[in-house]
């Protein structure tokens, strides 16, 4: 479980997060949604320590991440997997080397054991046999899947996903969502997904945090979202005529 308490973050005069709190449960897809500039990626980066919050705390199963020194943070980070918006695969490494990298750095496993784990992760994301390809040879969807394989290679307790569907066609986007959902269930991971993709929201949004202008505007599930009377959330989720018509039929 991850708990965030009263997170504030500003960049010079730009006050991005204005006191956000919430709880992200184990084995659940927790979605952070909101329009562009609402602070969702900043919140995610504060949670993983890429940004330091001006105020507030991030607590991983009772361990306050914001109060830890660098060495203590490294231990928590070994329990974290993250899929970046642009996958962030290492260009100079093959798919196999990318996935094996955290194992090389932090385990004492033999090469055969590491290779077995790599192949398992690749199979899990339906990319078996793609070991020797370089990131430049992969499609956008394949890169995302390799990113997921790398993120789960160390069997993380917490999985963070930043805009998993950006730049993907709708079919691939759904596949990625399903994969994240399956992995979360299978390994009982605390998954936090930042997205503004409505298919993700309706498909895997077991717990949703809606941010608006740096504040938590609404909290609930995908089942509740269709019936909310929150004006800002309705304007965001049902922005198009198509989604508005779908809502009216519910």
């Amino acid at each position: 479980m991850i708990e965030i308490k009263d997170i504030h973050k500003s960049f010079d005069d730009n006050y991005v997060l204005k006191g956000i709190s919430g709880v992200f449960q184990d084995g659940m897809n927790n979605l952070i949604i909101g329009g562009s500039g609402s602070g969702k990626t900043t919140l995610l980066k504060c949670m993983v320590g890429l940004h330091t919050p001006d105020q507030g705390s991030v607590i991983y199963d009772g361990r306050d991440f914001t109060k830890m020194n660098t060495e203590e943070r490294i231990e928590i980070r070994k329990e974290i997997g993250m899929l970046f918006q642009n996958s962030a695969l290492f260009d100079s490494m093959t798919v196999e080397q990318n996935i094996m990298f955290p194992l090389d750095m932090f385990t004492t496993q033999s090469r055969a054991e590491k290779l077995e784990r790599v192949n398992f992760c690749l199979e899990r994301v339906n990319l078996a046999g793609k070991n020797k390809l370089f990131p430049a040879e992969l499609s956008g969807g394949m890169k995302k899947r390799v990113g997921i394989a790398r993120a789960i290679s160390m069997q993380p307790k917490y999985l963070f996903v930043d805009e998993p569907n950006s730049g993907l066609d709708p079919r691939t986007a759904i596949l990625i969502d399903e994969l994240i959902n399956e992995i979360t269930d299978e390994y009982n991971i605390t998954t936090v997904v930042v997205t503004h993709d409505m298919n993700s929201v309706m498909g895997i949004g077991e717990h949703i945090l809606f941010l608006y202008e740096g504040l938590k505007e609404w909290e609930g599930s995908n089942k509740e979202i269709a019936h909310t009377d929150n004006q800002q959330l309705n304007d965001f989720v049902f922005a198009s005529k198509f989604t508005q018509a779908a809502k009216d039929k519910l």
Partner: protein, 243 residues
């Protein structure tokens, strides 16, 4: 400027933290040695031979007097090459070749979130990315400068004898007479610091890139300018201290 210097020092502090796994660092160090050293050999070789040849012709032109023995041409060429030309010209050329490449490589990793990915994994990104480059720089650039010195002196011989500016025997006597081995030490100390400047300054510029591909290009250009100025300033300081 003070902000940059402070951040540069803090980055270096992070670079020299204990590596997570030496085995991986060693592999990276050897890869960087090949890139910085072996891959630059051809360029440094060509430049050194021509600089040596041109220097011989210029010295011969300037020292046209019956009162000055022709062997002086070899001596002047040797000392200029060892003390100044080989270390400084090699460093300036390598600042362009290696410095811009390092800044682009690390800068691209920054804007494509690869550095964030390293940090999320719990890896000391400055150490993992920059330490191997600095170690390769401070070992391979002195080696390149040593080779450059040999090739420049050889270039002087070829250029001088081919143009008829000096005979082979006079040149040989010139470069062997009155040789002070300490000058080699000065050249190597310079090369060591130049290697450090090139790799650390370019890594700093790349590591703190913000924005897009355009900013990576700008950082690359800034690296060359900053490194060249730092090299020339360090050259003056080291020369002043050691000679």
């Amino acid at each position: 400027m003070f902000t940059h210097f402070g951040r540069y020092i803090l980055l270096l502090k992070a670079v020299f933290k204990r590596p997570e796994k030496w085995k991986i660092y060693w592999t990276n160090i050897f890869n960087e040695m090949v890139y910085i050293g072996v891959d630059s050999l051809y360029l440094i070789g060509i430049i050194s031979v021509f600089v040596g040849a041109v220097m011989t012709l210029q010295i011969a032109f300037q020292l046209q007097s019956d009162l000055i023995p022709r062997t002086i041409i070899g001596s002047v060429n040797r000392d200029s090459t060892i003390l100044e030309l080989s270390p400084t010209i090699s460093a300036l050329v390598l600042a362009g070749k290696i410095g811009s490449s390092i800044a682009s490589e690390i800068g691209t990793m920054r804007v494509t979130e690869q550095i964030d990915a390293l940090e999320i994994m719990g890896i000391n990104a400055p150490g993992y990315l920059i330490l191997p480059k600095i170690v390769a720089g401070i070992t391979m650039i002195p080696l390149l400068v040593t080779i450059s010195i040999g090739l420049a002196i050889m270039g002087g011989y070829i250029g001088g004898t081919f143009s008829g500016a000096i005979s082979g025997a006079d040149y040989y006597r010139g470069i062997t007479e009155g040789f002070v081995p300490y000058t080699i030490a000065v050249a190597l100390v310079k090369a060591f610091f130049f290697g450090f400047i090139i790799t650390s300054v370019s890594s700093y510029q790349g590591f703190y890139v913000k924005g897009s591909a355009l900013d990576v290009g700008r950082a690359s250009t800034k690296t060359v300018v900053t490194s060249c100025i730092a090299i020339l300033a360090a050259d003056y300081v080291i020369t002043g201290l050691m000679l």
